[in-house]
Amino acid sequence: MSEKFDAIVVGAGPAGNAAAYTLAKAGLSVLQIERGEAPGSKNVQGAILYSDALERIIPDFREDAPLERHIIEQRMWVMDDESYIGTHFRSNDFSKPPHNRYTIIRAKFDKWFSKKVQEAGALVICETTVKELLRDKTGKVIGVETDRTEGKIYADVVVLADGVNSTLARKAGFRPELEPKHVALAVKEIHFLPKETVESRFNIQKGQGVVIEMMGKLTKGMMGTGFLYTNNDSISVGVGVMLSDLMRQKMTPYELLEQTKNHPSIKPLLEGGEMKEYAAHLIPEGGYHAIPQVFGDGWLIAGDSGMFVNAVHREGSNLAMTTGRMAAETIIDLRASGKAMSAANLAEYRRRLDDSFVIKDMKKYKDLPEIFHSNNQFFTTYPELVNRSAYTMLTVDGVDKRSKEKEIFASFREQRSLFGMLGDAFKLWRAFR
C-alpha cells in the first residue's frame, strides 16, 4: 500500500470511530487501522453509553444500535464489609424517550459503530497493529508503519485514538509513560441470567436498567470504586483501583473482584448467573493535570490516549467520542480553508476542547485525584463509620436514641479527630465546588 489518504485514524474504539465517521462523512479519504480481529475485540468498558455524545455524531443511533437497557435508576453505595448505606435515585422520567443513557456491550456496540464508519466511506482494516509513526526530516508526522508487509501508509494527518497505553504516542515522545498514580486497573466479569430474572431482581421492566456504583471498604483501603450494571440478559460486575495503591499491597486484582462479588449485598444479585468472560483494562484517571500535549505537526490525540476521563462522574467513552469528533472537525475546517496540518493550525483542536464540557469538567475536578490519593480514610474509616452509625440507630435494643447518638459521635471522635474531620470536609468541598 503506497496510497496516500487525507487522514489515518489509529484505533476503532469510541474516539477513533467518532473521528473516522466524522471525517468520512465530510468526504475525506480515511483509513482506519484496528489491531483486533474485529472492531471491539480489544476494547473493555463497564459499560454505560451516554446518548448525548453519540447523538451529536449519529443522531438516529437508536434505530439500529445494539443497546442493552436504558437506565432508570442509579444506586450509590458506601460500603463496609457487612453493609452498605446509600442513595438511590429512580425516576419514570428516565423511561421517557429519548433516553439519556444505556448499558451496552462493547464488542457488539463497537462493531455496529464501525459498520457506520464504513458506510460513511472510510476504509477500515483490522488485524493490523501500527508499529510506529512515519515522520519527515522536520519531525512532522506523515503516515504510519504497520505490521503488514509493505506496511507504510501516508496521510496528511494522523489521529491517534489508540487507547490508554498509546504505544505510538509514547514511542514518538508525544506523551510520557503513564504513572501508577494516574491510572486505575479495572477488572470485570459478565454473568448471564434470564432477562426475566434480571428484571425481577432489580425491580425493573422490559428495557429498563439499573446502575450501582460502589465505594468504601470493598477496595481494601485502596483508592477505587466498584460497579454493577444490568444488561439485557446479563450483569456486568467489576472493581477498579489505582495502580499506585495496588502495587503496595498483597491482594491480586482477581481476589479483589472475587471479594466484591461475594459481598453479602452483591452476591444475591449474581446468584445463578453463568460467568462468560473475565476482562481487565486500564483507565486513565490522572485528571486535568495528566492531559498531555494533544496536537502537533501532522497529529492529534483523542480519547483515553489523551487521558480524557472524568473519573468523578464515571465518564470516559463520551469524552472519547467528543474529542474524536472535535479532532475530526478541526481537520475538516482546516482543510476547507486550505490550511496545512501544522501544529500551529491544529492547536485549534485544543482551543475547541477548552471551550467544551470535556476540559471544563476535567478542570473543575483537577485537584480531586491528589486529595483521594493522600487520604485513604475516605475509603476505609468513613464508610465504616457511617455504616456502623446506621446500624446502631436502626437496631432496636432498649437503648435510648440520645445515648445512641452519643455513642456514634464518640466513635467518630475515636477514629478521626474533630479537626481531621473538619479538614476532610473542607478539602472535599474545595475540590468539588
Binding site: T128, T146, N165, M247, K276, A279
Partner: protein, 94 residues
Amino acid sequence: MSGIKIEEKLFQNRYLVDADNPHIRIKDPALCGQCSNQPCTICCPAGCYTREEQKVVLITDGCLECGTCRIICSRQNVEWEYPRGGYGIQFKFG
C-alpha cells in the same frame, strides 16, 4: 485467599495465541531477583507473572493486554508491545 484459580476465569476467554512470539518480555531477568516486592506477581490481572524461588517467570498466553506490568515495574524492566495484528485476547463482550 489464594483459593481462586485465575485459570478458571481465563478459561472463559477467547485467545488467538501467537505461539513462540510473546509480545511482552522481561528485559533483564537478573534484575527481578533484586526486586524485593515483585509487584508484577501481585498486580497482573491474568496472573502471567509467577515467582519461582527468587526469579520471576512470565507466561503471556493469558495476557489481557492491559499494560499494568509495564507501568508498575519500578525498574522499567518490562518490554511491552501489542501482539501482532489479529493475535492475543479477543473479547467476546468486552
